[in-house]
């Protein structure tokens, strides 16, 4: 059976990945970014420690939502870095590579895990909010892919 803390662990690993990748691409990001992501990952560790300490106090419903929130923050960062590279830095090739190698797999795996978790729990959670959140991610992903595949789309829209 999946524990909701799996999302926190996954999110923390995402922040670590972001930290290492932004370090490798340091000339394209502010110097502090890799360290900020390391701190965010340490917060994930704190998240897990608190969950473990209060395992019998916090009910599963509450644990699910605060872990999901942390996952949403991590995913938002992955997508934001992707957009930053594409829109702000205009590194289209790099943004495409990031999109296919980082953004898509992380979003896909996260959606799969969240759905699997709710399925195993017999859908006892109100899934409407969850569905809206996931749809939002898919829409953001779709827009970013569209923009990356046709970089001049923004310019055309701006002219209109």
């Amino acid at each position: 059976m999946l524990l909701p803390e799996l999302f926190a662990m996954l999110s923390s690993d995402m922040f670590l990945l972001l930290s290492l990748l932004t370090c490798l691409l340091e000339d394209k990001f502010p110097k502090a970014v890799p360290y900020v992501y390391q701190m965010a990952a340490v917060m994930g560790f704190g998240h897990l420690v608190v969950s473990r300490m209060f395992l019998t106090v916090f009910d599963e419903y509450m644990r699910f939502w605060y872990n999901l929130f942390y996952l949403a923050v991590a995913l938002a960062n992955v997508v934001a870095v992707n957009l930053y590279l594409a829109v702000s830095k205009k590194k289209w090739t790099l943004a495409k590579v990031w999109s296919s190698a980082v953004t898509f797999p992380t979003v896909f795996i996260s959606i799969m895990l969240v759905y699997n978790y709710t399925y195993l729990q017999g859908a006892t959670f109100p899934t409407l909010m969850l569905n809206l959140l996931l749809v939002l991610f898919v829409v953001i992903l779709g827009i970013s892919v569209t923009v990356l595949l046709s970089p001049k789309l923004f310019e055309k829209m701006r002219r209109r």
Partner: protein, 191 residues
Amino acid sequence: MKIRNIRFNKSMKFLTLLLASVLIATANAAIFYSMTMQPQVMVSTPVLKFSTAPDEPNGSTVEDAWCRLTAKSYPNATLTYEQAVYINNTDSDYAHSFMLKHVAITPANGNSAVGNWTSIKFLVYNSSGYVFSLNYTVSVPDWILEPSSGETNYYSIPASEGWWIRLETLSPAAATTGNFCEIQIEVDVQE
């Protein structure tokens, strides 16, 4: 060589972050693993409970999670306990499924004492009528189970609803008074 002269270049920075990342990821995994290896067994009341019913056989014991019915059977006459025991779904939000499953019976198959009974039937009813049953009939010297697998299908009790078991017994005219059989049935609940 002074330490400040060492250039903290990109590879050093990356190595530092990599080591920190490995440390954090390992600590995360250790904490998560310790959570998965922390089984909890909490004492609680069952979702589907037995409770006493109007036709409960004398001398029976009915507890929340189990019951023991001490029924009689008469030679050449069917004895019916219309509502022998209730099975209540105490969950006010969700329906729960359950089945009746044969576990054991004495006297066992092959014993001539089996011939002291013709049939013992456990029929489950709800307010709309008959739902399903687990029946023991006799073909001397063996018990014949119906369903033959010894277990019924799962049936779902709606939230906050109570069903009951109707118990029917019958012995042949030549049955000897004082013989008794013990049937152990499991109520398998999907919580």
